[in-house]
Symmetry: C2
Subunit: 214 residues, 2 copies
Amino acid sequence: MFFVYSLDMQETKGQTTKNHILREGLNLASVNGLINISIGGLATKANMSRSGLFAHFLSKEQLQIEILEFAFNILEETIMTPTRQIESPINRFEYIRKELPHWYNRITPKIPGGCIFIMASLEFDDRPGKVRDKLLEQQNKFISFIKETHDDAISKNEFIGNSDRDHFAFTLYSIYMGYQQYKKFFGDENALKHFNHIYTQLIGHCQGKEILKD
Amino acid sequence: MFFVYSLDMQETKGQTTKNHILREGLNLASVNGLINISIGGLATKANMSRSGLFAHFLSKEQLQIEILEFAFNILEETIMTPTRQIESPINRFEYIRKELPHWYNRITPKIPGGCIFIMASLEFDDRPGKVRDKLLEQQNKFISFIKETHDDAISKNEFIGNSDRDHFAFTLYSIYMGYQQYKKFFGDENALKHFNHIYTQLIGHCQGKEILKD
């Protein structure tokens, strides 16, 4: 299933310009790091003047936060919103398995540097402030979404009752990180195979299935 | 078991100075990122002149590579070398479980920003060059060490014969990343509990044990 990020038809010209800037900013930040984004560099990339950009963002911090919000909207529209429309939690997890590893390719054009959230959280983990707070808020929201889906699977008897939501979310989050690292850093062509295998084991375990032996 | 990184008694004064610089460089890079290290900034931190530092490192790239080698020596001395002295592979994995999550605290003084390798690999994954090559070489060396220990466990009948070395290494690498992220970024006090639980499940699975249900 392919998803195309579409701008709200009702948006003003100012919002259109802002979305254009944010999309360019997300592209840059996904490759060079959110921490290294600059209003000057982004102005060049977006074919605007520095002062034109400053009319939309009062500070680098505000720009970084709005880029994160822009990116999280894409994650929500590609993963969380369609998942919530699926009735069976097991089928929801199947959708997540298929779509989550490359959610950032599900918009046109693709986000060139991939997942911005992992890198940004490593950049900002030693830097308390509003950007770090935003990253924490977003990723906790995603983890809560995973835990709620897990609990829903229990309440609908699709997962066994003693499956642990926290261990589950930790494992899913970990193999998502591991997948991104194997894919992008190691360039391992089996990255998705590993992710799918461990993900399927995890879900099977929560269903009380005998664990796969291969 | 605590490990203190000790300088070779035979080293020259020049090597002592270089090790002092590299240790300061590792501290800085672990917090601010390897990509953001500068010869000027490090000279200030190490109480040296820029030209004094340039006498040891011809370029920023060489400095970055030597900081990585310095860090990897610590990882080897805290994890790989002592592990290889343990006969039973299961006991080796138990040593790894206990020591790997916080290997960077096993030297005096601790490395303030924690594991440099994950962040550096995310910084350099879009930047082909000698630093990226060094990171790949080191992390592939670590992954090979895990796979060899896995295979040794099979050959000594401690793991079941059809346990998959690649899935195993992927999972261990992933939960190591997940642990670092939960601990440092989320500040989750249960990070180590999650890591230990999934790690123990993984080992138990490779032993052919019925999977833990909690």
